[in-house]
């Protein structure tokens, strides 16, 4: 298995938390960017009830 001997020179007590932290930070960053830069995530998390409640109001404004 490739790189399997890396733990001979990298302490697992350091390397594994660094690896897990890198995955966690990268994942959090992507999801934060998605939340901050799109509108549908907030609408989706607010639930469909609000969309239903606002839909007639929007329709009324359009008339």
């Amino acid at each position: 298995m490739i790189y399997s001997k890396m733990w001979c020179v990298v302490k697992p007590s350091v390397g594994i938390p660094v690896f897990i932290a890198a995955v966690a930070i990268a994942s959090f960053s992507v999801h934060l960017a998605l939340t901050m830069n799109t509108t549908w995530v907030k609408n989706f998390l607010n639930g469909s009830a609000k969309v239903v409640a606002t839909a007639p109001a929007d329709a009324a404004v359009k008339k």
């Binding site: 399997s4 001997k5 890396m6 733990w7 020179v9």
Partner: protein, 62 residues
């Protein structure tokens, strides 16, 4: 006899009993790596399943 045995061991096992600076042997390092790869694969499968659910049940990519 013991000297011969030690000599043969060193010749044939390519020093696999050597304890490296991290306190691990090559076999132990490979075991840790195997488990880390397996954990990553399980994490990846769960993440892929979660993304499938998000794709189906949210407006993502629609």
């Amino acid at each position: 006899m013991r000297a011969v045995h030690v000599f043969c061991k060193e010749k044939t096992m390519s020093n696999s009993d050597k304890v490296w600076p991290t306190g691990l042997t090559e076999a132990e390092s490979e075991e840790i790596h195997r488990n880390l790869i397996q954990g990553t694969q399980i994490f990846g499968m769960i993440a892929a399943f979660a993304h499938l659910l998000a794709y189906i049940y949210s407006p993502w990519l629609k």
